[in-house]
C-alpha cells in the first residue's frame, strides 16, 4: 500500500443501518394520520374560530328549515302525492343544506376580502373548509333525520329507514361531486353548472322517466343501499383528505 494512502475503516451493515435511519428520521417528518391531523387542527384552532361565522350559518339553517317545512306541509294538502315523489324529493334536496352552509364560508371570505390573508395562513381556507365540511356533513345527517322523522310521521306510507338511506346516500354522493368540482375544476362556469346540475339532472330524470327514477330509489333493497352508502362515505372521506393536503407532496426529499 502506498504510504500516502490513508486507510478508512468501512462501517459494517449495522452501523450503516443506524446512520441511515438517523438521517431519515431527521430529514423526514413523521407522517400524520388524517385523524391526528384533524385533532391537531381542532386543538389549535378551536371550535369558536372554526365556526366564527356561526350567526350566518344559523341564519341559513333557519331559512332552509322553513322552506323544507313549508314544502312538506303544503304538499300534504296536495292530493296526488305518491311515495316516488317523496323519495325523489328527499334524494334531490338532502344535500341542499350542506351545499348552502359549505358555500357560505367561501362566499364570506371572498366578499370580505379576507381570502388572501386566510390563504397564506398555516391552515388555509381549503383546509378550514374541509374540516367544516366534515362537521357539516354530520350536522346535515342529524338535520335530515329530524326532517325525515317529520315527513314519515305525516306520510305513514313512507319507510323511515329507506328514506334515511336515500338521504344519506344522496348527501355523500353530492358531497363527493362537490369536493371533486372544488379540487379539480378551475372554471367557475363549469363549477356552477355541475353543482346546479345536481338539481336539474334529478328533476329532469324524475319528470321524464318517473318510473325508472322512482324504481331506482324505492325498489333498491336496504342491503344494496348500505354498501353504496359505505362506498360513498369512504370516497367522501378520501376527498376531504385530498382537500386538506391537495397542495402537499409526500416527504421533504
Amino acid at each position: 500500500m502506498d504510504k500516502y494512502d490513508s486507510y478508512i475503516d468501512f462501517p459494517n451493515d449495522d452501523v450503516i443501518k443506524v446512520q441511515i435511519s438517523s438521517i431519515v428520521s431527521k430529514g423526514l417528518k413523521p407522517r400524520q394520520s388524517f385523524l391526528s391531523y384533524l385533532k391537531g387542527m381542532y386543538k389549535l384552532i378551536g371550535i369558536k374560530n372554526l365556526f366564527h361565522d356561526i350567526t350566518e350559518i344559523v341564519f341559513v339553517v333557519l331559512i332552509v328549515l322553513s322552506i323544507l317545512i313549508f314544502i312538506t306541509i303544503s304538499s300534504k294538502n296536495s292530493m296526488n302525492i305518491d311515495n316516488g315523489s317523496i323519495y325523489s324529493f328527499i334524494f334531490m334536496f338532502s344535500p341542499i343544506l350542506y351545499l348552502a352552509i359549505s358555500l357560505i364560508s367561501f362566499i364570506n371570505t371572498k366578499q370580505k376580502g379576507t381570502f388572501e390573508i386566510e390563504m397564506t395562513c398555516k391552515y388555509n381556507v381549503y383546509q378550514l373548509a374541509a374540516f367544516r365540511m366534515l362537521a357539516f356533513s354530520v350536522f346535515c345527517i342529524i338535520f335530515n333525520v329530524s326532517i325525515l322523522f317529520l315527513v314519515s310521521s305525516l306520510y305513514k306510507q313512507i319507510d323511515f329507514l329507506q328514506a334515511f338511506m336515500i338521504s344519506v346516500t344522496s348527501l355523500f354522493l353530492f358531497s363527493i361531486i362537490f369536493l371533486y368540482v372544488n379540487i379539480n375544476i378551475k372554471s367557475k362556469v363549469i363549477k356552477y353548472f355541475l353543482l346546479l346540475g345536481w338539481v336539474i339532472m334529478n328533476l329532469g330524470v324524475s319528470i321524464f322517466s318517473k318510473e325508472i327514477y322512482a324504481m331506482f330509489l324505492e325498489k333498491i333493497p336496504f342491503y344494496v343501499y348500505l354498501p353504496v352508502t359505505v362506498i360513498c362515505l369512504w370516497a367522501y372521506i378520501n376527498n376531504i383528505k385530498k382537500l386538506i393536503t391537495f397542495n402537499n407532496i409526500e416527504g421533504v426529499i
Partner: protein
C-alpha cells in the same frame, strides 16, 4: 434564503412576469415599479397565492409550493387590499388569524396584546373595526402579518393610508424587524423605502431591471441630474427638451430639477440623484395610472 429561479407567470396568453431571478437574505427589499409592472404578481408568487408557470421559488433549498403549510408557518403577509370582518374588534380579528396561523393558544393573548401596543391600537382593542379609519385598519393589517413572528414578511403597499407620524413609526418598526428576517416591501411611494431598504428591486416590462443597493442604483444617473432657475414663460419649452423631475416656485421664478445627458448651460447646478429621480427616469415612458 429565498431564491426565485427563472420564474415566469402567464395568464393564458398574457405574460405577467418573465424570467425573474432573485435572491433574498435577511434585510429589507424594496420592490419598486409603476402600477401594472408585475409587483403584485411577484408578491402573490412569493406568498404561494399563485404558482409559477415556469421556474421555481426555493426557501432554504425547498420549493415553497411543496413546503405548503411549513412555508406558510413562517410567512407574514399584508395584501394590497386588506380585508377584515367589520363586526370584529382588532383583538377578535387578531385572535382569529392567530388560530389560523396555528399559534399555541396559551401564547395568543399575550402576542395579540403585544402587537396591538406596537401598532398603537391598545386603547381601541375592543372597538369594532367598522368605525376605524384607513390608517387604523392598515395598522391592524401590519399587526396580523407579524403575529407568527415570520421569517419572511411580505407587505404590499403597507403605508397606504398612514399619516406621516404613522409612516415614520412603521419605517422604524420595519428597520428593527429586518435584522433577523427577510422583509419585502412593495410600493410606488419611493420615500417609504429610501431610508430603510438595503436593496431595491426595480421591475420594468415584467422583468427585473435592477436589483442593487440604493447608492448603486442612483449611480445610473450620477452627473446627469441638474437644478436651475428659469422663467415661467420658458417652462413649457424646457420640459419639451429635458425630463423634469421636480419643480418649485421661488422669487417669481421656477426652480426645476431635471435630467440631461450633458451640461449645456453654466447656470445648471449638478445635484446628487436620489431614488425618486431614478424612478422617474426609468419609468418615464410608462403610461400613467395603469392599475395592476
Amino acid at each position: 434564503m429565498l431564491v426565485v429561479n427563472d420564474v415566469s407567470k402567464k395568464f393564458g396568453n398574457f405574460s405577467a412576469l418573465k424570467n425573474i431571478n432573485l435572491e433574498f437574505t435577511n434585510g429589507v427589499y424594496g420592490l419598486l415599479g409603476p402600477n401594472g409592472a408585475g409587483k403584485t404578481t411577484l408578491i402573490k408568487l412569493l406568498t404561494t397565492l399563485l404558482f409559477p408557470t415556469e421556474g421555481e421559488i426555493l426557501y432554504n433549498g425547498c420549493d415553497i409550493v411543496k413546503l405548503d403549510e411549513n412555508y406558510r408557518e413562517i410567512l407574514g403577509y399584508l395584501p394590497q387590499e386588506f380585508g377584515y370582518y367589520k363586526n370584529y374588534s382588532p383583538k377578535q380579528y387578531l385572535m382569529y388569524i392567530s388560530a389560523l396561523k396555528g399559534l399555541a393558544r396559551n401564547r395568543v393573548k399575550d402576542r395579540v396584546g403585544e402587537l396591538l401596543k406596537l401598532v398603537g391600537l391598545e386603547t381601541v382593542e375592543n372597538k369594532k373595526m367598522r368605525k376605524f379609519s384607513g390608517g387604523m385598519i392598515q395598522r391592524v393589517g401590519i399587526a396580523q402579518a407579524m403575529l407568527n413572528d415570520p421569517k419572511i414578511l411580505i407587505l404590499d403597499e403597507p403605508t397606504a393610508g398612514l399619516d406621516p407620524k404613522e409612516r415614520v413609526r412603521f419605517r422604524n418598526l420595519i428597520a428593527e424587524l429586518s435584522r433577523d428576517r427577510i422583509v419585502i416591501l412593495s410600493t410606488h411611494i419611493v420615500s417609504d423605502i429610501e431610508s430603510i431598504a438595503n436593496q431595491i428591486v426595480m421591475i420594468k416590462d415584467k422583468e427585473v431591471l435592477y436589483k442593487d443597493s440604493i447608492n448603486n442604483i442612483c449611480k445610473i444617473i450620477q452627473g446627469h441630474v441638474f437644478e436651475t432657475k428659469i422663467n415661467f414663460d420658458n417652462a413649457k419649452s424646457f420640459r419639451k427638451h429635458y425630463l423634469s423631475l421636480s419643480e418649485k416656485q421661488e422669487d417669481g421664478k421656477l426652480i426645476i430639477r431635471f435630467i440631461s445627458e450633458k451640461t449645456i448651460d453654466n447656470n445648471w447646478k449638478v445635484v446628487s440623484p436620489n431614488l425618486e429621480d431614478v424612478f422617474l427616469y426609468v419609468y418615464k415612458d410608462e403610461p400613467l395610472a395603469q392599475e395592476s
